[in-house]
């Protein structure tokens, strides 16, 4: 009906208010914030990316001061930057997203235990190796049958996703491979008997398995692994500069000193860097510092004291989580209403558009949508900051669900109520505005609150697009302190505390909107029905 469609646009324009405009502005702002003038680049810090959850000794949280990120790779890249007269700033990203983020231009280099492989060389370029190591097998202390990879045939071996060790295990054949996002969980599963061995780069074994009384390192060094700094293929100038800086650091012994302090110097490196001096360990080394401060045998009081030091960090993460969730929910609730109105009152093409949107969004995983927004859109020139991408991803996703809530709510306000409005000489638009929407809103408050609470939890997914929020912090802290249980409970409590006020608020609003007598009637009726069902089932 033409009349209906004209009314629709009026409603549409009234309802679509500020949220979209604000977001559009934010998006535009984000697009421009990334474009910078190339001439100014020399003075800019080198933006280097790492997964801060990847743990010791590469890049990890200082166990004594969890807000500080330390690790030998930080020292290497800062050394390189110093040689180039620049500073270095860390951009956090998850391991899976490191290379996509580089091509996207989120940072200049990756330095995060990235092994130099032919496969990766096709996508990015590498500096000369700054670190040489080998694969190391670890088993449970009581294990006596496994001494080499050959003994692992027919057994379960854990390793990191996309790592060289994984490729090695695949090539070796006959081994059941279990892959992990982070090495602490790989070693934890080994300890708990879910796997029979773990094959990982030696530094990870030295820092994670060696100090663990339940585990031991076995077998000879396997293969040779080269870590290189990853750059965009087009970045040839920076590549040459960095190679130069690395060579200087080898020559001056600067690189060697870093590895000595971290207890990582090995014969492979001695050979490659032509440095056959004995290891000169000057205490206190970083290795000892790490072992002392992550002492796993903590008393309850020590643990509790540790947890107290986590509170400010977690509170900050919780704030990020809350921030993302709130803005995303505002977007979802606003856009959802528009989508529902489009679908219910719009002319046919508009209604179909809304339906397609809803089905498309609900039919695909949120994780894929987030990846798409953050990593795929830059290919068509849309670059969003992590925050905007997170909010858009969650908001656009939840809008589809909210639209369905609204639709149910609006349909639930019976046709009878709309007729009553029309019969009073109100227009379609006035009827929707004053009679249908206010009643629909009340109906949708409980489902929307539920959705908000699940959005709070789904926001944990945005850690894949470089946002550091509660869940990311859980991963970081738990892998640093090997305490998945205690820190897990702590983080769960934070989520619970975030959600509770909203549950209470929703209940309060709902109560205010429902007159007491109606409530009593409703309870009375359900009691009566339940009572009847109970008595009849007892008969």
């Amino acid at each position: 009906m033409k009349a209906a469609s004209r009314e629709f646009w009026k409603i549409f324009l009234t309802a679509s208010g500020t949220p979209l405009v604000v977001l559009a502005a934010a998006a535009v702002g984000a697009t421009f914030s990334f474009t910078s003038c190339p001439d100014a680049r020399a003075a800019e810090p080198i933006r280097w990316a790492a997964d801060t959850e990847s743990g010791a000794p590469l890049v990890f949280q200082d166990p004594k001061e969890p807000t500080k990120i330390i690790g030998f790779e930080r020292e290497v890249i800062e050394g390189v930057a110093r040689h180039l007269g620049r500073s270095a700033t860390l951009v956090h990203n998850s391991w899976d997203g490191l290379i996509p983020g580089l091509s996207r231009g989120n940072y200049d280099v990756i330095i995060n235990g990235l092994e130099i492989t032919e496969e990766r060389k096709r996508e990015i370029s590498f500096t000369d190796p700054y670190f040489v190591t080998f694969e190391q097998l670890a088993v449970r202390r009581d294990e006596s049958t496994i001494g080499s990879l050959a003994n692992c045939r027919g057994k379960k071996v854990g390793t990191l996703k996309f790592s060289l060790a994984q490729t090695m295990l695949e090539k070796f054949g006959g081994i059941e491979i279990v892959t992990y996002e982070a090495e602490p969980t790989a070693y934890e599963d080994l300890k708990n008997g879910r796997t029979d061995a773990v094959l990982l780069d030696a530094p990870l074994a030295i820092y994670n398995a060696k100090p663990n009384p339940a585990l031991k390192l076995v077998g000879a060094p396997i293969g040779s692994v080269l870590y290189g700094i990853g750059l965009k293929k087009s970045d040839t100038e920076l590549l040459a500069q960095m190679n130069g800086a690395l060579a200087e650091m080898v020559k001056s012994g600067e690189l060697r000193r870093i590895y000595d302090r971290y207890n990582l110097w090995n014969p492979l490196m001695a050979e490659r860097f032509g440095d056959s001096r004995e290891a000169a360990l000057e205490p206190p080394t970083m290795y000892e510092y790490y072992l002392n401060s992550t002492n796993r045998e903590r008393t309850i009081t020590e643990r509790l004291k540790l947890y107290v030091t986590f509170l400010p960090i977690l509170a900050k993460g919780a704030l990020t989580t809350l921030n993302i969730s709130l803005v995303a929910m505002v977007l979802a609730v606003g856009l959802g209403l528009i989508l529902a109105l489009m679908r219910l009152y719009g002319p046919k093409p508009v209604a179909i558009l809304s339906l397609i949107y809803i089905e498309l969004i609900r039919g695909t995983p949120l994780l894929i949508q987030l990846f798409f927004i953050f990593y795929a859109l830059p290919h068509v020139g849309i670059r969003l900051s992590p925050f905007v991408a997170a909010v858009l991803g969650l908001g656009l996703n939840y809008a589809a669900y909210e639209a369905e809530n609204y639709r149910a709510g609006i349909l639930g306000v019976a046709k009878a109520q709309s007729e009553a409005g029309l019969a009073l000489g109100l227009s379609n638009r006035q009827t929707v505005r004053y009679i249908v929407i206010p009643q629909a809103l009340r109906i949708v408050i409980p489902p929307i609150t539920n959705d908000f609470i699940s959005l709070l939890k789904d926001s944990s997914l945005v850690s894949v697009i470089t946002m550091v929020e509660l869940t990311k912090l859980y991963g970081q802290l738990a892998s640093t302190y090997y305490d998945f249980l205690g820190i897990g409970l702590l983080v769960a409590m934070f989520y619970l505390l975030l959600g509770l006020p909203f549950v209470r608020l929703a209940r309060y609003v709902e109560n205010r909107l429902t007159p007491t007598e109606a409530k009593e009637q409703r309870i009375g009726l359900s009691k009566r029905l339940l009572g009847r069902a109970l008595t009849s089932s007892l008969k």
């Binding site: 009349a3 009553a420 019969a423 000489g425 227009s427 004053y434 206010p438 007159p515 109606a518």
Partner: protein, 252 residues
């Protein structure tokens, strides 16, 4: 001079023809009751009068506002919708199930159409609404929410809400069918009082006693047509048509 005039009114739902060509004229100030079996088309007639159901064919004129269509295939455009809305502003409609707006107080229910629909200043609308609520005996309940009211109170509230339009005609669609028997009279007495004031009222009803005692004319309908129209004392005591007699036998 008639205030309601219906000519050749037809309406069907799918294949089923519900109104088969109705002609009717109603003088101002009359109380007309429509009676007949369920499904005879009396409710549809009432709903078609103010455009809640779109007529297929024929012409309706109420207090100078008309709605007409030449055939079912006539396109419905903005103009028709506008005309229907204009007409509704002069018809108060009362439904069987009250249909007060549950999210606002009784007073706000009465105020809404005045401020939003008719753009009357709010203080004026409130004064008028309070007077109307007083008239139907609900002054004391004006701040209650609809769910706190009894059925009879709700229906009287709905009448006040419809009266707030200062309508030329009141339409009632089985106004007492959803009420407990002891509450029926409070609604009927409001309708009687309005009749005294000279309001034109059209009521679809199953209350034969009310139709006989209070109405000026009774319209008996069957299968989408008007079978008989008559003053109540005539129609109830000596109906001309056999079909009317058969119907009334069950009630009297």
């Amino acid at each position: 001079m008639s205030i309601v005039s219906i000519r050749g009114l037809k309406k069907s739902f799918g294949e089923h023809e519900v109104l088969k060509g109705i002609d009717l004229d109603i003088e101002p100030g009359q109380l007309i009751c429509f009676i007949g079996r369920s499904g005879c088309g009396k409710s549809t007639l009432l709903r078609t009068l103010n455009g809640l159901e779109v007529l297929d064919e024929g012409e309706i004129e109420i207090a100078g506002h008309s709605l007409s269509r030449k055939s079912k295939t006539d396109p419905l455009d903005d103009k028709f919708e506008k005309k229907a809305q204009a007409l509704r502003k002069h018809c108060g409609m009362v439904f069987q199930d009250f249909r007060l707006f549950p999210h606002m107080s009784l007073l706000e229910n009465v105020v809404l159409a005045q401020t939003v629909g008719q753009k009357i200043p709010r203080d004026e609308a409130i004064a008028k609404s309070e007077a109307l609520l007083g008239k139907v005996g609900l002054q004391a309940h004006k701040d209650k929410m609809p769910l706190q009211l009894s059925g009879g109170q709700s229906q009287r509230g709905a009448i006040a809400r419809a009266l707030a339009l200062s309508p030329a005609v009141m339409l009632y669609d089985e106004p007492t069918s959803a009420l407990d028997p002891e509450l029926v009279d409070e609604v009927l007495s409001v309708m009687k009082a309005l009749d005294q004031e000279g309001m034109t009222q059209l009521a679809v009803t199953h209350e034969m006693r009310f139709a006989r005692d209070a109405s000026d004319y009774v319209v008996y309908m069957e299968e989408g047509s008007i079978v008989e129209i008559g003053a109540p004392d005539v129609l109830f005591s000596s109906p001309k048509d056999d079909r009317t007699r058969q119907f009334l036998r069950k009630f009297l």
